[in-house]
Assembly symmetry: C2
Homo-oligomer: 217 residues x 2
């Protein structure tokens, strides 16, 4: 619609769009430059004028996927209505987890690609980023956990590993349900087990030290 400014149209965007489309329900391994070019009516190698190699295109798709996931979680967070600060903070944490899983299940191809080429290691969250510190799932998780501390639900000394614990649990659940042995669960079973997982996390976060013999090897 916007006219074709150059030779044959605005590739790059068309390539990225098509790539997202292909990956969404085929996973990263379904992304083939030649087949993409074929589908766009352009000759193979045309893509190399816009991306150094396949990996470069994958990276752009990963950014899109990440943005989509952040968007989905944001929408979920916006729907939280609890008034009581503690309930609200706990609910927000659960919404993040559920949103994460929802994205993983509904856009499983993009989710899988995301974890073969994760855009930015979260260690450098606030470094010199073009990315606001809360605009990736890990940042949102950390914000929610900080809220839990501020609100008094989570003891500050239990805050330290909580981010990894939450992320690991939810991520593992997603992976096992997509490519792992838990695919094939009915949506109802899935929702129930996810609820159980989130409740376990909610309760387990304040882990105190009731395990003296832990330090080993």
């Amino acid at each position: 619609m916007t006219s074709s400014p150059y030779h044959h149209g605005n590739l790059r965007e068309a390539l990225v769009d098509a790539a997202v489309d292909v990956v969404r329900d085929g996973g990263p391994e379904a992304l083939a430059l030649r087949e993409l070019a074929r589908r766009l009516g352009v000759s193979h190698n045309a893509a190399y004028r816009h991306f150094a190699d396949r990996e470069a295109l994958v990276d752009v798709v990963a950014e899109r996927a990440l943005a989509g996931m952040v968007d989905l979680v944001h929408r979920r967070l916006a729907g939280v209505t609890e008034a009581d600060p503690v309930s609200r903070a706990r609910r927000r944490l659960m919404e993040i987890g559920e949103g994460y899983v929802e994205f993983a299940l509904t856009q499983s191809g993009l989710f899988r690609l995301l974890f073969t080429a994760y855009p930015e290691p979260p260690a450098s969250k606030g470094a010199d980023g073009t990315l606001a510190p809360g605009d990736d799932p890990y940042g949102m998780l950390n914000a929610a956990l900080d809220d839990l501390v501020a609100v008094g639900f989570l003891a500050p000394e239990d805050r330290v590993g909580a981010d990894v614990t939450c992320w690991a649990a939810v991520h593992g659940f997603a992976v096992l349900n997509i490519e792992g042995p838990l695919r094939g669960l009915s949506p109802a079973e899935r929702q129930a087990t996810l609820a159980g997982l989130l409740m376990a996390i909610d309760r387990g976060l304040g882990a105190g030290g009731d395990w003296p013999a832990l330090a080993r090897s």
Copy 2:
């Protein structure tokens, strides 16, 4: 050593051995039939006399990987010395988790392959199996959780989703540390965060129902 009974030796086993070797630290995507044949001094296509296609070889490698992981966890379980039944059961659960992660980190390629071709969906655990019900990680996890119930640490009504919760948490931790954004953690950080995760699970399992507003959507 055992002589070469046929044309050129006992392929198949040599193929599987080499495949395990390649996959161990290259992941499933590093497994190429042709390169394997080349390394064994045999012509490509020779493998097709022993495996229908690449996938068939992958499946055999997956079985080996699974056996290796089970073996590792068994060895860890054999080292548990706690006398008190409750402590012992809890310790055994943690050993399973730590063994799972240890295998994932030290044999990451095999671990990754395992979850692109998991041998048997655990739903049919005791069906008509050639596999004893406790001889896969999921079975061992379930046995440990049953122990926790028998010993009184875990309420029977909290038993139901506990398997998925444990598996998801530990699996997610492993994945995030291998291919995900948590690679690059130092071993010490890793051990500390894993300990936190396991403690959170240990505490969170008895999740009771202190979240009335959970039923939604």
